[in-house]
């Protein structure tokens, strides 16, 4: 299977309205910038989006959020995303807030073939409403996996088989989403030759990646620049 695409548009050619999309990144760190820009241009709607923040500070997935392309969102934290908070308050979007560890594990479970798991996280809170409770050493609630049609993720390096290598804290949810989606698109800052990423340093084996392309014009925005010795 030829995985290498020329750009985000080619990689997203099978993406349609009504699909479920996972999008990697923590805030704006490690987001698939080229794919998000392409989605902004695509005439799709009624999307279900699974992403920790659904963009932030007017950037990232906020671009398609403000176009009202998202019908339902799964996320853990909306502080710092006033556009999403506003749509939530106006009931313009359905949002399921998921504790971040449960969010990660539900995505991981989908990729791992796990049909459900029990966790104490969220027990006794609004999150537990309607969920099965089972007593272990303490009461736990049943959580189910989160699957997706597509995942869009970004890595620093990737090769034509789809092996990926991430820089610093840019991994976050991306390796999990790569496993959980039927079609995973990886965009990379550097498309390298097979073997350039040593086998023992591969963070995501290419088995989990269906399309890969060399991205361009990365902004790599910093949300809160803090420097040693400087105030605020």
């Amino acid at each position: 299977m030829k995985k290498v695409c020329k750009d985000a548009n080619e990689a997203l050619s099978g993406f349609k309205s009504g699909m479920t999309l996972m999008s990697g990144g923590f805030g704006l760190c490690g987001i698939a910038e080229n794919c998000i820009d392409a989605l902004e241009q695509l005439p799709v709607k009624d999307l279900t989006v699974i992403s920790n923040n659904i963009g932030n500070s007017g950037r990232g997935l906020v671009k398609i959020l403000v176009q009202k392309k998202i019908k339902k969102a799964y996320c853990s934290y909306v502080g710092g995303n006033p556009d999403l908070e506003k749509q939530m308050m106006n009931n313009e979007i359905e949002v399921e807030l998921v504790p971040q560890g449960t969010f990660s594990e539900r995505i991981r479970a989908a990729g791992m073939g796990i049909r459900g798991f029990y966790t104490p996280t969220g027990y006794g809170t609004l999150i537990a409403e309607g969920k099965e409770v089972k007593n272990f050493d303490k009461p736990c609630i049943l959580e189910l996996p989160l699957h997706a049609d597509y995942a869009i993720i970004k890595a620093q390096k990737g090769d034509k088989y789809g092996n990926l290598w991430f820089k610093e804290t840019a991994k976050n949810f991306s390796p999990l989403m790569a496993m959980a989606a039927k079609v995973t698109i990886a965009e990379v800052e550097e498309l390298v030759e097979l073997g350039d990423i040593p086998a023992e340093d591969v963070h995501v084996p290419g088995l989990f990646v269906q399309h890969i392309f060399q991205g361009k014009n990365y902004k790599n925005d910093i949300e809160f620049l803090k420097i040693d010795g400087e105030d605020a």
Binding site: C29, L97, G101, E105, Y123, K167, T169, F224, I227
Partner: protein
Amino acid sequence: MSWSKEQMADQVVKLFTPGSSVNLGIGMPTMVASRITPEMDIMIHSENGVLGVKGRPAKDEVSPTLINAGKETISIKPGASFFDSALSFGMIRGGHIDFCVLGGMEVDAKGNLANWMVPGKKVTGMGGAMDLVNGAKQVIIMMSHADKEGNVKLVEQCTLPLTGVGVVDLVVTERGVFKPNGKGFDTLVSAG
């Protein structure tokens, strides 16, 4: 007498055992990092995927892919490691993190915590808070003693939506260090 934020942070740091692993929440708890001395050999965990946060980076060290859970640029110390979100929350949910320090809107006598939403007014989401309170070995809440309207935030019973049930070990405010005892709060240290 009441403590400054720095003095509150110092009280939190006193609770840490040398060599322990610590997760610091967004807001006031973030400043605890700057009060930890290198001799304490503390490993700071941030749930976006790093263990071994040092502090703020020098100007020439800044990297957009090196951040903490508050999305602030950071630096790391020798011995640090990076990992994905599932492993990061495995550290938390699997009971491997010694202390977590979180902000709070209400803590009650039974150790219940509310810190993620005010119905009809404000929703920030829980982020990793619900995982942290159920997973970390010790849960410390660092918050102002009262809200902006002057209502005391250490209450008999939480009225806001809960983050966790019976999870809080200690509360540090500008007035002292408190421990929920089921009926009220024991004062372990008084600010004066």
